[in-house]
Amino acid sequence: MVDFLLAFAVGGAICVAAQLVLDLTKLTPAHIMVLFVSLGAVVSGLGLYGPLVKIGGAGATVPLTGFGHALVQGMLEDVRQFGILGLFSGGLRATAVGITSAVVFGYLMAILFNPKG
């Protein structure tokens, strides 16, 4: 039960931060999505996103900042295993399920449905 509350709090807080940027600047949601992926990567590189995932679980991995975190950790993991080439293999390896799901399910839904209104 506690893990649900923490996921709610952490996930909600990250979205509030993004909403603040949306309301206080002229950036569009697309800009903010890009900004937060990069922010997640930076925070992950500083070693601070891992602890946040430990606390918030899906609250930290489901927002797009978690995507940046997965990219960085994947790259570092592959560098440890395969050397410098890991910089070019680890990011997409760690996020392959997400990106492939997005392409396949996105395409499937676009085929199955028609625009509403």
Partner: protein
């Protein structure tokens, strides 16, 4: 063409400011918190399911992302997700379900332009930049991490 003087420009800016509705920031923040929190809580339920199937919490994040993307894509196809997005703002855009929404929504909108240049190309209108900047910034961060802290 007559160019507007600076005074006219200033007056126009003032007029614009007067008539732009002030955005209800507090309300937006509360809605973003509630909807974003709700989506990530559902994510936690999915994550717990995969953990109960024997995956470590770290490994379970991967299939969880897949399931959440499926849900986001399905709800967008059904026309539900864009309705949530109208009041939830970044609360529904920032979770990975919003990433799926950013793929399906333009793909549907531009379906009439064909399956290659409509669906195929427009799917990446927002997802493309997210992947481009995600990969590039992660690479820079990883290189800096290796230089500063070692591997």
């Amino acid at each position: 063409m007559v160019k507007a003087s600076n005074r006219q420009k200033e007056a126009y800016q003032q007029l614009l400011q007067k008539h732009t509705p002030s955005r209800p920031i507090f309300r937006n923040l509360v809605l973003a918190f509630l909807v974003g929190g709700a989506i990530t809580t559902i994510g936690q339920g999915v994550l717990n399911f995969f953990v109960s199937q024997g995956l470590s919490p770290k490994d379970a994040a991967t299939p969880t992302a897949g399931v959440m993307i499926f849900l986001g894509a399905l709800l967008t196809g059904l026309g539900v997700y864009d309705k949530i997005g109208k009041f939830a703002g970044m609360g529904s855009a920032l979770p990975i379900t919003g990433f799926a929404n950013s793929i399906v929504s333009p793909a549907l909108e531009f379906k009439r332009e064909g399956f290659v240049l409509g669906v195929g190309a427009r799917m990446f209108q927002v997802a493309g930049p997210v992947i481009v900047y995600g990969v590039v910034s992660s690479l820079v961060v990883s290189v800096l991490h290796i230089l500063v802290k070692g591997v």
